[in-house]
């Protein structure tokens, strides 16, 4: 009996080593462990073995059965493994350098720049307001302290409309409405499209974007303005920028300033952006003129504030190194689609 067990074992080992498929493994299992297999037969017939050897034979037969089970299991795993190897070898070698479908469009550089600025401003507690594009003469001029016959009206080449309204020449045209809407204290920015009646060239457009801001509260000082503009512009240019003020004249502020920043692209060493001038004239600003506050329904004896303008079109051009302002309104998708969406 013991010999038979040994023989069986050898036989199985031999067959197992020749097997190539899962089906054959299963067949082998049925042959040696199935109901009619020799191993099961041996176990069934243990009662016929003489008693002294019964235990030993039983143990050996059982251990053979376990060994076969183990072998089958291992063989199955081994074959599975081979299958994966074969599948991997047969799978396509993907050329990742192939292009994907171009499915993402683009936002306008002004939109992207505007959104970035708005995020900075809202994080500093400013509301964002929309202005009109067609404005009354009053809002565009009178309400920002540019009375009739003021030379500033000539300086800005205005598009006049047949009903006496104008295409707004400056975002300041929204100042009055915003002051009347919110009163003081007030922190608001108002980006928008502006228009000047002039011929087009690389640096002149009749349609362009500005962003203007106002901050009105008790005891707002020139020192506050400088602090605020420095903080803001450092955020815009993602570095600590140096600012300076020079006297400037804008009818709606007094005093008025031209704010320059030390060129953030070359740290003032001289480059194309600052035209080797170290400083870039960036932002007209000033303390809001008492007349403007009054017309906006705010008492200039109680409140003061500052206002500032940012050339959105100009900032967008700086951001993307666009040299020709005409790109902005060109509608040329070949140019604009480079902008991505953020």
């Amino acid at each position: 009996m013991e010999e038979k067990i040994l023989k069986l074992k050898e036989e199985i080992l031999k067959k197992m080593s020749e097997i190539k498929s899962q089906v054959d493994v299963e067949n082998l299992r049925v042959e040696y462990l199935g109901k009619k297999s020799e191993v099961v037969e041996i176990l069934k017939n243990l009662k016929n073995v003489e008693e002294s050897k019964r235990k030993e034979v039983g143990e050996k037969a059982n251990s053979l059965r376990q060994e076969i089970e183990k072998m089958v299991e291992n063989k199955k795993e081994e074959l599975k493994e081979l299958e994966y190897v074969a599948r991997i070898e047969n799978s396509e070698k993907i050329d990742i350098s192939l292009p994907t479908e171009k499915s993402i469009g683009s936002l306008h550089p002004i939109t992207i720049t505007e959104r970035e600025l708005e995020d900075i401003f809202t994080s500093m507690g400013f509301t964002v307001e929309d202005g009109n594009e067609v404005e009354t003469e009053y809002n565009n001029f009178e309400a920002v302290n540019v009375p009739k016959y003021h030379p500033a009206r000539d300086m800005q080449d205005t598009f006049w409309l047949e009903n006496g309204q104008v295409l707004k020449t400056q975002t300041s045209a929204a100042q009055n409405k915003i002051m009347l809407k919110y009163g003081a204290p007030l922190k608001a920015i108002f980006p928008g499209r502006c228009f000047r009646n002039e011929a087009l060239d690389a640096s002149h457009e009749n349609t362009f974007f500005q962003m203007e801001g106002m901050m009105i509260d008790k005891d707002v000082s020139i020192a506050n303005l400088i602090y605020f503009m420095k903080t803001l512009l450092s955020e815009v240019f993602k570095k600590d920028v140096e600012v300076r003020l020079r006297p400037g004249y804008f009818p709606f502020v007094e005093p008025g300033f031209e704010l320059d920043i030390k060129c953030p692209y070359c740290d003032g060493e001289g480059c194309k952006v600052c035209k080797h001038g170290t400083w870039i004239e960036l932002c007209p600003c000033g303390m809001i003129h008492p007349n403007v506050l009054k017309m906006g329904g705010i008492d200039p004896d109680k409140y003061s504030g500052f206002a500032f303008g940012l050339g959105l079109s100009r900032l967008a051009m700086m951001k993307y190194s666009i040299n020709d302002l005409r790109v902005m309104n060109s509608c040329d998708v070949r140019a604009l689609k480079q902008m991505n969406v953020k």
């Binding site: 171009k102 509301t127 594009e133 006049w160 499209r193 349609t207 020079r246 006297p247 003061s304 604009l336």
Partner: protein, 669 residues
Amino acid sequence: MIIAGLLIFGDEAALGEDVKNIIPIDDVIYEVDNKSLTNRPDLWGHYGIAREIAAITGRKLKPLYVENIEKYNDLETLNLSVEAEDENPLCLRYSAIRIENVTKKMASWKMKVRLYYCGMRSINLLADMTNYIMMELGQPMHAFDANKVHSINVRTLREETDFVTLDEEKRTLDKGVLMIANENEPVAIAGVMGGLNTEIEDETTSVFLESANFDATNIRKTASKYNLRTDAAAHYEKTLDPELTKTSIERFITVLKEEDPDIKVTSAFSDIYLKRYPHIVITIDKDYIDRSIGKELSMEEITTTLTNLEYGLKVDGKVITIDVPSFRATKDVSQKADIIEEIARIHGYDNIEPKTNLWKVAPIEKDPVRELEYSIKELLAVKYGMSEIHSYVWYSFELNKKLGIKVEDNLKITNGIVKEDNTLRRDMAPTMLYAVYKNIKYMPEVKVFEVGRTFDYNFDLKNAIEHKVLGAAIASNNKEEKELVFEAKKMAQDILKINKNISARFINRENIDKSWMHPFNTFDILIDEKYVGYISLVHPKISDNINAKTSIAILELDVDKIGSLAKNNIKFKEVSKFQTVTFDLSLIASSDVKYDKIENIIKSSNMKYLQEYSLIDIYEDSKKLFGKKTYTIRFTIYANDKTLTKEEIDSDREEVLNSFKQNGIYINE
């Protein structure tokens, strides 16, 4: 004397002498960067700039040497008259004096060189003198030949008049232009340019010297109307101090005597002073100054600054009472804010340390229309691969013509450079079509959009009504028209679903009122039966003009209207734990039955457990199904509290089939 390009000196120069001893050409240039110059009439002369530099540097301003002309008071007074219609005369002050025996013809080297450095050409002594004083003090002056001018009246033209100015051009001047006249014969356009008829000539030895002050706005209008932007006009436009007319005559005589000691003043200082600017006094206290600047300055610094700028001061404790000098009082300085500027700028803006304030913090309200606008832009760019463009808010006459786009009349620009491009847009579509036209030659598919403004105007309205509108165009040389229309529909649905959780109804537009709209493939978009936009296949006439191979769909949505809608709350529905049943029905209907009819039947049927339905397939085959088509609809039914029995399922199925039957739609067996 200059002969053949050689400068010949007379006895004044010894051989070998440094030319600089004779011609004072040494020059020092200070660059003064001041953008507010146009608003500072007092800085339009060197003396004003000197005053400013003295204040900035803390040095003493040299006095202006002038001859006292009181001593001529006993001489003949010149005959002057100035017309004034009201309390705002066009000529505020007219001063004059007569000088005779001017025998020298050429100005000194010193004067010539100085004028040259100021960008002026030397003409003759008297003309150079007027320019020199203008450069020095900012007051334009005019020298008439006294043999030709005896009395002056300043008046506006009663009728259109021809006049030859010093530049030898004959101009026809309109009625109402302010003129200087000699015995009613015009001799100069006031404050702008003299006439050729009274020009100083070589033989002129006596001069009738004008030093006047004119209304700035009127000068500016006249100068720009006749395109005579002279130096004199440029100065007058700044609103000069009328006090300056007398000082300038005094200074003129002083300097002229240095040039030509033999001159004789032969009239009294003659003067008509119609309008004086009010004397301005500003009271300000030191705390206010400190608060406004955001830095505490010493009282001494404040008073020194203001004194150096020639303000009159009275200090009482912390309160300063300030007398504004006349040369700052014409428009520039009138209130406290102006004084803050004086103190702060002389202190130096760079010397003010940045400081924060204790601002109140409050949550920010976001404008729903702006939020919607950004959301639309991002969606269209990210999901639909569209490019945002910026177009102009007026129509292009040329492109409308070329593409065959006809537009309705609207508010017009009256003074644009391109005169024909004057009509503001009522719709976004035309400017989107321009963009398609510009791009389609470079790419087989153009997908562009803009959230821009459109304007509605008619003559009953005072002001135009402005709308924020999305305009989008999808143009393709490969895709089918239907595909483009459905892409536009999906955009509109996505925009509404994402931002407002609402769905719209799309119906055939009845009124095809725009030239680019397809006669029947144009669809209005309705929310709660209110119009919010449209989708249109572009009329083949126009798309053909753009490109014969191109199909174009247009989408316009009123962003203002949609932005103002309330967002539909999302009501969460528990997912059923019980079995879901789906079944498909293939329905045969007359081919004019639209899908929305099918939907309406389903919605109005009495199905008890209907949760969802969707269109699986449409089949149309004119041969097999003449005049008919089939819709295959998948129904999903379940209950939240039980598993449906076969009877319940069948009953729901029967319900919807009955509803279809009543509408002449049958199951396709």
